[in-house]
């Protein structure tokens, strides 16, 4: 059954309730009308056949959202968002609307895929081409799925999880990022359409990176993704979100929420490679990426590690954070952010030390080029009870060209004398000496810049799962194209 047909089926099954929405829509329509209202929220919930509690939860979020002010403190600038101009529910595109073949896809996009060495079939998926043959990778995914089920790992769309294990979802959803955490997260709570749910049972080490699967199957999660990962006692999971090739997408506003929960002795490694469309040279048409990501180290000796490579989007606003609640828990944040042309990024992390002997480590590498503007914003907070807590932060910025900006805004708040917080930051440019040295050895200027930048980012690249490290490295070079000379 095609996705559209499936949606139609679903909506048909909640027959008789249509009138409640207060707007007339063809039941077969795969889009809600433009705009946001309580009715739209009800519509989304109904389309997804959600339990009553979730609808209530969404509505509560929606009402809070109406009152909440836009966050004003970041350095990114954009005209006020007209929330009424978006569609908040849109089923996967029907094949008729998609490009028929790669010939119809923006050649620049394809050129990038080419450079990254993405296989043709995968290129078609990324570019949203209507394809009807079965991928090898889909069957691969099925094999994966079987393997995961064997060890009891639940890994499925969050809407499916609501049917398979509603209690688990209900127990953890919104407990790390509360409904009204910030305006963007609040909007997500009201209108999220899908995303992933992961549950790793006690003592299980997830047998594979939950990444390959995701890459092929979870592309169309829409603009308001919601991800929830729960690692039960003593378990381990490595999750990779995103895609190393730029994603074609017509949605301008992305407000995703990711919640991680690690119980005693559990570890979650979450890696992101974000390369959404940055817009044209002036940033026109690019994605607004407003993401709330937070992990709670609830258990003793638990660990959450965020690694991100951010090269896309017109505007990035995200601060993957860790709440270090359990004693001896560990939080890590490794980040590379590259902005070029007119991109703006305000990104960083928060490490909230609550438990004893909690440690955190922040390594942030920012590269600004073109006319772009980038800010590292970080908070390290040591509560009075966090005896023996430790934080180390290293935060380096590299500027390429004299029209860009790089800013570092760390907040350090310590209320415990046995805690040690160390923060270091530098800002500089690629030295002319280095470039000349590399060029003297025959390496062309752009490649030399990419090499130096890759070296600059190395500490973070090393944190990425192997297969993505290589692509991410290429991405660094591609992102900086046209920034020298």
């Amino acid at each position: 059954m095609s996705a559209t047909a499936e949606t139609v089926e679903q909506v048909k099954s909640i027959s008789g309730e249509k009138y409640k929405y207060g707007f007339v829509t063809d039941i077969a329509a795969d889009k809600a009308p433009k705009g946001l209202s309580e009715d739209i929220v009800r519509f989304i919930s109904a389309k997804k056949r959600e339990p009553e509690w979730l609808l209530e939860w969404r509505l509560k979020a929606y009402r809070r959202w109406l009152e909440m002010p836009e966050p004003q403190w970041s350095k990114v600038q954009f005209p006020p968002i007209d929330y009424q101009q978006y569609h908040y529910y849109s089923a996967p595109k029907s094949d008729d609307d998609r490009p028929k073949s790669l010939d119809e896809v923006d050649p620049e996009l394809l050129a990038t895929y080419e450079k990254l060495g993405i296989p043709i079939k995968e290129q078609e998926v990324l570019a949203g081409v209507a394809v009807d043959y079965v991928f090898d990778s889909v069957s691969v995914a099925t094999t994966f799925k079987k393997k995961l089920e064997e060890v009891g790992v639940i890994f499925c769309p969050i809407s499916e999880a609501l049917e398979r294990c509603p209690d688990l979802v209900r127990k953890y959803l919104g407990t790390v990022v509360p409904v009204a955490d910030n305006k963007h997260a609040c909007l997500n709570s009201a209108v999220f359409t899908d995303g992933s749910f992961v549950y790793i049972p006690p003592g299980v080490k997830c047998p594979m990176e939950l990444s390959t699967y995701f890459r092929i199957n979870e592309m169309n999660t829409g603009q308001f993704e919601r991800t929830l990962i729960v690692a039960d006692k003593g378990s381990y999971v490595s999750y990779l979100e995103g895609c190393t090739a730029p994603m074609r997408d017509e949605n301008q506003l992305h407000a995703a929420v990711v919640e991680l929960v690690a119980l005693d002795d559990a570890e979650i490694k979450y890696s992101t490679v974000q390369n959404w469309y940055p817009g044209d040279e002036d940033g026109k048409g690019g994605i607004y990426n407003f993401v709330t990501k937070r992990g709670a180290c609830r258990g003793r000796n638990s660990k959450i590690s965020w690694t991100q490579v951010e090269t896309g989007s017109a505007i990035t606003w995200k601060y993957p954070s860790c709440i270090l609640q359990g004693d001896n828990s560990v939080g890590e944040f490794y980040s590379i952010a590259i902005t070029n042309n007119a991109q703006q990024a305000d990104t960083g992390t928060k490490m909230i030390h609550l438990g004893k002997n909690t440690t955190s480590r922040i390594i942030s590498k920012g590269i600004s080029a073109g006319k772009s503007d980038q800010t590292y914003r970080g908070l390290v907070k040591i509560s009075p009870k966090a005896e023996g807590a430790r934080n180390y932060t290293q935060c380096d910025s590299l500027l390429i060209g004299d029209k860009c900006g790089a800013h570092t805004v760390p907040y350090i708040e310590s209320k415990n004398k046995n805690a040690i917080v160390e923060h270091e930051a530098t800002t500089s440019t690629i030295s002319e000496d280095q470039l000349f040295y590399l060029r003297q050895r025959g390496i062309p200027e752009e490649a030399a810049v990419a090499l130096v930048v890759n070296g600059f980012c190395r500490e973070v690249l090393q944190q990425l799962p192997m297969e993505f490290a290589v692509e991410a490295q290429k991405l660094v070079g591609i992102s900086l194209e046209g920034s020298v000379g």
Partner: protein, 250 residues
């Protein structure tokens, strides 16, 4: 191979080279000596095409072609190699990655096939062994945390790997112990061939015991003041540069 004609060059508006003339035939090794600040490194940078070193007069003909307008990487691809007096540190970039990039960039430029990883590593290992360097140095970031001597050896390793036609060694012997000096010299001598040439900048005659030059030049006050055989080096070692100091001789 190389012909420098009445070369004038300025750095930050200051004229450093004031009419250098020099001809190096294929297969020859030339040495340049001269007091500190006389312009030796400047000459090497000008030959390699460093930004900010402006040629204000004269010509540099290399294998029949005027180099002046070429980028540093194009000159490198044409076989010009400069061993830096002060090798540059590049944090986070492993030595082997850097060499691989360099070798393949040069090969691409020449229209040759790139070496695959295995071929490259094999070649690199062999060269490393010849130069008595440890493999561990290949994994470390380029020149970062290297001792003075290690940096110089690393320059020679790069030279051995890139097999240039014209090698310019700017005080590669400074800071080397006797054993290292021998290794470096062996590296240079190994490249000696009828179609390759070297320009060796040094302050010490002792290097020239190992790398025997065809000609020795004295560069002072922006010009070649005297040219001779290797006996000139001995003479300089004895008398210093006093003869070449003071105002323009003539």
């Amino acid at each position: 191979m190389l012909e420098i004609k009445d070369l004038h060059a300025t750095v930050q508006g200051k004229e450093i080279l004031k009419g250098v003339n020099l001809i190096i035939e294929p297969g020859e090794v030339h040495a340049i000596m001269g007091p500190n600040g006389s312009g030796k490194s400047t000459l090497s940078y000008v030959l390699a095409g460093r930004d900010g070193y402006e040629v204000t007069g004269g010509r540099i003909i290399y294998e029949g072609e005027d180099l002046t307008e070429l980028d540093p990487e194009e000159r490198a691809a044409k076989g010009i190699f400069l061993a830096f007096q002060y090798p540059v540190e590049i944090p986070g970039v492993p030595n082997s990655t850097f060499l691989n990039e360099a070798v393949n960039a040069v090969r691409r430029y020449r229209g040759e096939d790139e070496l695959d990883k295995i071929q490259f590593v094999k070649m690199l290992r062999a060269k490393t062994k010849e130069l008595n360097m440890s493999d561990e140095m290949l994994k470390r970031a380029v020149n970062v945390g290297f001792s003075g001597g290690e940096k110089k050896r690393n320059e020679v390793l790069q030279m051995a790997v890139l097999e240039p036609k014209l090698s310019i060694l700017d005080e590669t012997d400074s800071g080397l112990d006797i054993d290292a000096l021998k290794i470096v010299s062996d590296g240079v001598n190994a490249l000696r061939a009828p179609d390759r040439s070297s320009l060796v900048i040094t302050h010490y005659q002792r290097l020239l015991d190992y790398i025997v030059p065809d000609k020795v030049h004295v560069l002072a006050r922006g010009r070649i003041q005297k040219t001779g055989g290797k006996e000139l080096a001995l003479e300089l070692e004895k008398n210093g540069y006093a003869d070449y100091a003071g105002e323009e001789a003539a």
